[in-house]
Every structure is written in structure tokens, then in C-alpha cells.
Symmetry: C2
Subunit: 214 residues, 2 copies
């Protein structure tokens, strides 16, 4: 046999991407074989090489596009003129929504960094750093304006990122909590963690503020 009836390059490539994200997230990049991936798509292994020159290229493509998607989502969600608390809330909401929506792709981007070649690793890390830089800026602005009380901007940013991204480890859609509920709770935890004060008032207002916009 050769070309099959109804075969379509675009559809096959999309199927390969989706199957690859799922398989790598479940078994890991090294553990997934090209034959296994091909079988999942319903195609022979050789056919994969029409779309991705090597297994490594496939991984890098998936990661790069995931990072680009994250950047893009944040640029769209970012409020133009807003106080630091408002901006932080937007950052948290976008981060959690994006990561829950693309759980498997996030897993791949976080777990398979070591399977990238050095220069590709650098590229991905650069994108990640750029994204995290905005969070640090928000925290710094808030600290300088006196609405946040953070001891160490960089450390707090890392702690928040780890905390938020960690959602994908345990969150399963359709279980005890909805995305909205999870986001609301994380938002209020975030606001307390950075010691957010709205108009010089105490903690209770942070709760209300957070839940208002979740």
C-alpha cells in the first residue's frame, strides 16, 4: 500500500501533534517511541518524518508553540491601565486558565526541558523568563506603591509560579472543584501571600476583592 484514500497532510500533522502531546505527557519523551506515536495516529512510523525531520524537532516545536501561546494569551489578557493588585489578579487568572486548559502541553514544557539540545533549551528558557519577568515587574510596582508587602520580588515570583502551575498536577476537570472555584481560591491565596492591601485596609478586603473577579 501507499497513499490511503482520504489522507490529508494538514489533518495528519494536527493528529500527530495532539497524539504526541498526550503520549509525551503520559509516558515521557524518551519513553514514547515513534512507532507508538504513529500507531496512535493510525499511520506507519515513516509517515511522521514527512512533518517533523526528527523526534527532537517534534518536541521542540510542541514546546515553542506552547510558550508562544502562553505569551500571546497573557498579552491579550493583560489590562492596559490598572493598579498592581488588578494586574496581579489578571496574571493569576490567565496563568491558571491557560495551564488548566493545556494541562498536557504544560506537562511537556515543564518536564522535558532536559531532552532539548543546549541551544534549544536556551531558547525555551528565554521565553519562559520573559513571561515571568512581567510578574516580577507587577510585584515590584506593587511593593514600591506600598500595596504589596513582599520581602523578595524574585523569590515571591518563583513561589507564585510554582504554586499556580502546580494546579495541573492534581486538578482534574469534573471533580470536586470547578475551574472557577479553584481560580477564586488561588486568587485569594495569592493576594494574602503578597500581603495585598486595598486602600490601606486589612486582609478581609483582599478576600472580597479576589472573589469578586474570579
Amino acid at each position: 500500500m501507499a497513499r490511503t484514500t482520504g489522507s490529508d497532510g494538514e489533518k495528519t500533522e494536527a493528529a500527530v501533534r495532539e497524539a504526541a502531546v498526550n503520549l509525551i505527557a503520559r509516558y515521557g519523551y524518551e519513553a514514547m517511541s515513534m512507532r507508538q506515536l504513529a500507531a496512535e495516529v493510525g499511520v506507519q512510523a515513516a509517515a511522521l518524518y514527512r512533518y517533523f525531520p526528527t523526534k527532537g524537532d517534534l518536541l521542540f516545536t510542541l514546546m515553542r508553540e506552547h510558550m508562544e501561546g502562553l505569551r500571546e494569551a497573557w498579552e491579550n489578557a493583560r489590562p492596559a491601565d490598572a493598579d498592581p493588585a488588578e494586574q496581579l489578579a489578571a496574571y493569576v487568572r490567565n496563568h491558571i486558565a491557560f495551564h488548566i486548559e493545556r494541562r498536557h502541553a504544560t506537562h511537556v514544557s515543564n518536564m522535558e526541558l532536559r531532552s532539548l539540545s543546549p541551544d534549544r533549551l536556551t531558547q525555551i528558557l528565554r521565553m519562559r523568563t520573559a513571561y515571568e519577568k512581567d510578574l516580577r515587574a507587577i510585584l515590584r510596582d506593587g511593593a514600591e506603591a506600598g500595596v504589596f508587602s513582599v520581602e523578595d520580588t524574585g523569590l515571591t515570583a518563583m513561589a507564585l509560579i510554582q504554586m499556580m502551575t502546580g494546579v495541573i498536577v492534581w486538578f482534574r476537570p469534573g471533580e470536586r472543584l470547578s475551574v472557577t472555584e479553584v481560580t477564586a481560591t488561588y486568587l485569594s491565596m495569592t493576594m494574602r501571600l503578597v500581603g495585598a492591601k486595598i486602600g490601606g485596609t486589612e486582609e478581609k478586603h483582599v478576600h472580597e476583592h479576589a472573589q469578586l473577579r474570579a
Copy 2:
């Protein structure tokens, strides 16, 4: 050649364990070959099988002993009679100290769960759940006593664990911050996150409390 001068089973086994933790942490379990591991130890691949029947057994042994070590460390660090804030502080201190001390082993235990057989995965997850259960209990006690204000005990516990364990991702000994400084900052972030109040006073006291014992 065969047995080499100065060869010693105990030393070789210890060298295998240490090299395995480092290699798996750096390259991943699937990516590390038995020949690579043997070369790191300075031995032929066949010699490894005197100590571990299969590659999978090696991984499981490393993980199980890491989890047992974590449990043991916490049992020793746990304060006998203490209020929830005191207990939470002890939990955070122990968790961060243990994970920074055993960065590579923690990486293995967190990243290579998918390489375990189903029943072994269950065993490791059971140990992890048992450890995390104590944190949930502390949070619940604090919430009931009115010294913490947490909306969802389970969710808060997960957020805290992710936040604390995340330290190993970016922390490098001998860089900008010392272990003591990092622990102090994480402690105060934790206390703020759970809305800790000491004797009904406000947030500022939480800071002092946290930094006092870091």
C-alpha cells in the same frame, strides 16, 4: 579480567546509588542507560545486576528510600505539643531543608513516577499522601481554632506543597540567597498565605513570628 583489586560490594552499591540519582536527575530515567551508569561508577554494566535485579528495581529502591527518609525526617522534626502555627512552621522548615538537601533525589521522586509499574506507583503515592495528610491536619486544626483562615484545606495544602517543593527548581547553593534566608522568606509567605494570626493580632506579627524561627 574479573574481580578487581580493592573491589568492595558495599562501596560499589553506594556508588551505584549515588551515580544513579545524579544521572536520572540530570538526564531522566529513560535516557540514562545502564552502561552509562556503569561507566560513571567505573564498572561494567553487568556488575550492576549484582546489586539491583533490573533497572526498574533500581529506580523504585531510590524512590522508596527517599520517601521513607522524608517521613522519618518529619517524624523527628515534628513538635510534640504545639499550636497549629508552630506546627506549620516546623512542617515548612523540615520540608524545605529536606528538599534542598536532597535536590536530586527529590527531582527523581517527582519526575519519574510515570516510569514505575502500576503497583509500585501506588506504593509511592501512598507514602506521599500519608506525608501530605499531616499538613492538611495542621491546616484543619488551625482553621478550626480560628488562627488560620483557609477556604479549602486540601487545596491550600497542595498549593503550599507545590510552592515549597518548587524551591529545588531554581535554588542553587552558594548563590544569592542562603538556605536560612530562603526558608525565612518561605515561612513568612506561608504564614501570610494561610492568614495566620497570633493571638488575634494582625499580619505584622506573623512576620516577626516567622523570622524568629527560620
